[in-house]
């Protein structure tokens, strides 16, 4: 750390000198919520780390469109898929410059070697950089990339081929994710030769719009604009993350003009922000879902009628008012409405305690039964208050004769025990990684996930799973859309979950800020922003 900090300090001076002492520097200040865990996005899974590393400093071969989930060209100008879906060929962009730093002056532009380095480091156990820094390639693992990719081949300096083990339509979306950020192989070689390879992860050099200038843990991160950025230099000259953990204080700073933008406001502050003349409040639907899962391996939840009855017995509108306080919308499908293939024709169960009682009687429980209801101990983006939610559901169910005992454990313990299936009913949720429906449905409701416990309903439906697997191996988006829509109908009818809500995310920005687009992934990207006086 000491070496890192010292190098960073000297780098600051270099960066400051490089930009010159121009007085009219446009500085954009973002009041971020926490320190990043580090600056190599391949190691981490938190949005906080991505906001500070992959978003400002790196590019991927393909990118998510700003403000959306579709895939657009990044460092690859174009790509093609072989007919069998097993080979992806990327044509790389030319004249892309890496960041210039005092301690590293790249001698060449971005090329295929950088792609091979960045992916192989994570893929191959034998890669000289694989064990450097002693970190796990967490997201590479989550997305199962080690099993998806067979090998990466350099055809020429500007053409790269990815050979897959089997056709997998989610591959391309995964390549737009933060872990697939492209590092400089030249910088890596330099540090390896110097015997300090771990410096690569501390002083990152990418091709992105901003160059890291200074980092003070828990205090501030400073970036300067990358003047030779391939999309053109950003309109702002300096980007500062002022790390401010408390949401009320972030709001105070925004109000006073100490920052231009803040994430994660207190829900109770949103009304005041809306009426504040200095602040614009942006809002978008979170790429998430909060749900209650029935353990379908345990009686009586192995009975479809019971699951449907409890769906009907739950007043979701009331939950939305009380728990989300307007920052959410009722969910009827396991995927959020902003995602492609969302089936809007699915009809949700309507709240009707009488009908629920009848269904329970039909299922053989005229007097109801007793069960447990697990509630998370923590606030999550998809569920601001699980305990309050559990109380409301408990009341609803009591009206149809089902007595639910609320159970809660410490967060780690909670995840662990529910993954092992100790619960009868439990609450959880999911935030999308790559904008692909597979990333919700297969990960949370597929048969393999029922084995591993990621599928907390332990629900394995042959027909549903078959559709998902077919969609996974089909490259054509229209065909996939139809398959996922069909799967959602089966899901609703089988009712392994009560789909509760998709949250609405708010981001207040000061009035003078223009050009900012909210990301459905909840990421914060400041390349396109400008400040108008």
């Amino acid at each position: 750390m000491k070496i890192g900090l010292k190098l960073l300090a000297s780098a600051t001076m270099a960066a400051t000198l490089a930009t010159g002492a121009a007085a009219a520097n446009k500085t954009f200040v973002y009041c971020s919520e926490a320190s990043p865990e580090g600056f190599n996005p391949a190691f981490y899974t938190s949005g906080t780390s991505f906001d500070a590393s992959s978003r400002p400093m790196f590019n991927r071969l393909v990118e998510f469109e700003r403000g959306g989930t579709s895939i657009v060209p990044g460092l690859a100008e174009s790509w093609s898929v072989s007919p069998d879906g097993m080979t992806y060929t990327f044509n790389l962009r030319k004249n892309v410059k890496f960041h210039q730093r005092k301690d590293f002056r790249p001698s060449r532009d971005f090329n295929a070697d950088d792609v091979l380095f960045s992916i192989n480091r994570q893929l191959l156990d034998s890669h000289p950089y694989h064990n450097v820094s002693g970190q796990e390639y967490a997201y590479f693992g989550y997305m199962d990339m080690a099993n998806i990719i067979k090998s990466v081949e350099k055809v020429d300096d500007y053409t790269v081929k990815f050979h897959l083990n089997s056709a997998d339509a989610t591959f391309i979306a995964n390549m737009a994710m933060d872990f697939a950020s492209i590092f400089s192989a030249e910088q890596a070689d330099m540090y390896m030769k110097a015997g300090t390879p771990e410096q690569l992860d501390k002083i990152p050099v990418g091709t992105g719009p901003f160059v890291l200038a200074q980092y003070k843990k828990d205090s501030v991160i400073r970036y300067v604009a990358h003047t030779a950025y391939w999309e053109g230099k950003s309109k702002i000259d300096r980007l500062v993350f002022s790390i401010t953990p408390d949401a009320s204080v972030r709001y105070a700073k925004l109000k006073k003009g100490e920052c231009h933008h803040m994430p994660y406001p207190n829900p109770s502050d949103v009304a005041a922000m809306k009426s504040d003349s200095d602040i614009n409040i942006l809002q978008s639907n979170g790429l998430n879902v909060g749900y209650l899962a029935f353990n379908t391996q345990k009686a009586p939840f192995d009975n479809q009628l019971v699951r449907q009855a409890l769906n009907i017995a739950t007043d979701k509108e009331a939950i939305l008012d009380a728990v989300y306080q307007g920052a959410g919308e009722v969910a009827k499908n396991p995927i959020p409405p902003t995602m492609w293939s969302y089936n809007d024709d699915v009809v949700d169960y309507e709240y009707n305690p009488e009908m629920a009682k009848e269904l329970l009687a039909e299922a053989g429980f005229p007097n109801g039964f007793e069960t447990d209801l697990w509630a998370m101990p923590v606030q999550r983006p998809y569920n601001p208050n699980a305990k309050r939610m559990a109380e409301l559901i408990q009341e609803d169910w009591a009206k149809v004769g089902v007595k639910a005992n609320i159970v809660s454990y410490e967060w780690g313990e909670y995840l662990d025990r529910t993954q092992k299936g100790e619960h009868e009913t439990m609450m959880l949720g999911w935030t999308g990684d790559n904008g692909d429906p597979d990333n919700f449905m297969y990960v949370l409701l597929g048969c393999p996930a029922a084995e591993s416990g990621g599928n907390r309903a332990f629900w394995c439906d042959e027909e549903f799973n078959g559709l998902l697997e077919q969609a996974k191996t089909t490259a054509d988006v229209e065909t996939r859309t139809e398959l996922y829509k069909e799967a959602q109908v089966i899901f609703k009818d089988q009712a392994p979950w009560i789909t509760i809500a998709h949250s609405v995310v708010f981001e207040p920005v000061r009035k003078e800020v223009t050009g900012y687009k909210m990301s459905p992934f909840g990421q914060h990207d400041f390349y396109a922003v400008d400040i108008t006086e």
Binding site: M1, L5, K217, K256, R380, E413, G453
Partner: protein, 336 residues
């Protein structure tokens, strides 16, 4: 004096062992393990989990982990953070100056305000001033730090626009880290206005953090002064014809200070624990916030190492306080 010092020092070693054992077992007793917390909703496959556990040294039995931990501590190695993979000591040294800077100014505020208030209240016992001071100090003592901090921000920063909201320095100043103490670094940077900016950022957090110690010092000084002022030697001094000021400040205060110094020593603990909240509110990059986050993430090395260092500091401060008695009051040094 030397013997007294050795005796006090000897008591430090068992305290250390106790602290290390306590921090180790407490953090391991909290349910939930770091790997599960890291995985979140996604979770890890069994293979990944084993890999990570081996990476973090969590695959060994608990007693082996403890022995290895103590062994490393003896060699001056506090381990590396599970999350950032940085040595605990380096992270601590990066963040600690901020906490010291804040605690120093908070203590200064507490002392400079609390002591005179206590003395005047004692001298003017039963007066309106006395009652006011005691009411204020009771309020100060019972004030929730979080609420008090936000209140001050809203009033001083937003309403009156006198102080900045949070942080250590205006973001427009690019000050390089040399000592870690912002005031000194700002001064070294030579940037115009940087020192003033650093001082203005210290203003609110110092008051918030210093409020409880200030109240404690004021009350302690008052009651201790009252006791001393009733002593025979005070009457003698007055009878000798010394001025009231001299009697109070020289004969009174010096004797009354002993319990006050003890309290100041004990307040170091309060300052460090109060720093956790104050640092969170004012986005102050110190060790309080660092430890709280580490507990949430089950970052064992940081929690163990951080607590051990803080315990050491508190032990040393209390040792120094004990030694100061000897200087202030010769009876302490001679009687034992």
């Amino acid at each position: 004096m030397f013997q007294f010092f050795i005796r006090r020092l000897g008591m430090v070693i068992p305290t250390f062992i106790g602290v290390s054992l306590l921090t180790f077992s407490l953090i391991h007793l909290i349910p939930g393990d770091p790997v599960t917390v890291m995985g979140g909703e996604r979770g890890f496959s069994e293979e990944q989990r084993q890999e990570i556990e081996a990476l973090l040294g969590l695959d060994k039995p608990l007693w082996q982990q403890y022995i290895r931990y103590v062994g490393n501590v003896v060699q001056g190695d506090l381990g590396t953070s599970f999350i950032t993979r940085e040595p605990v000591m380096d992270e601590f040294l990066t963040l600690f100056p901020a906490t010291i800077e804040l605690s120093f100014f908070a203590a200064l505020f507490a002392f400079c305000v609390g002591l005179p208030l206590g003395i005047i209240a004692a001298v003017k016992r039963g007066s309106f001033f006395d009652h006011t001071v005691m009411t204020i100090s009771l309020a100060g003592y019972s004030m929730p730090i979080f609420w008090w901090g936000l209140l001050l921000i809203l009033f001083m920063s937003i309403q009156l626009d006198i102080t900045p909201v949070a942080g250590r320095l205006d973001v427009l100043y690019w000050v390089d880290e040399v000592t870690g103490f912002m005031i000194i670094d700002a001064w070294l940077s030579g940037e115009e206005g940087a020192v003033r900016s650093a001082l203005s950022h210290l203003f609110l957090p110092s008051i918030v953090l210093g409020t409880i110690p200030m109240a404690v010092i004021a009350r302690m000084t008052r009651s201790s002064m009252l006791e001393v002022l009733g002593e025979d030697y005070i009457r003698t001094a007055r009878a000798k014809g010394l001025s009231k000021f001299r009697v109070v400040m020289k004969h009174g205060l010096r004797n009354a200070l002993i319990p006050v110094v003890t309290v100041i020593g004990l307040q170091v603990g309060t300052l460090l624990s109060g720093a956790i909240l104050t640092e969170t509110i004012f986005a102050w990059p110190g060790i309080g916030k660092w430890l709280i986050e580490a507990i949430g993430r089950r970052d064992y090395p940081v929690v163990q190492g951080g607590l051990l260092i803080i315990a050491t500091i508190i032990i040393i401060v209390n040792l120094l306080v004990d030694l100061t008695y000897g200087i202030i009051n010769p009876r302490v040094r001679h009687s034992k």
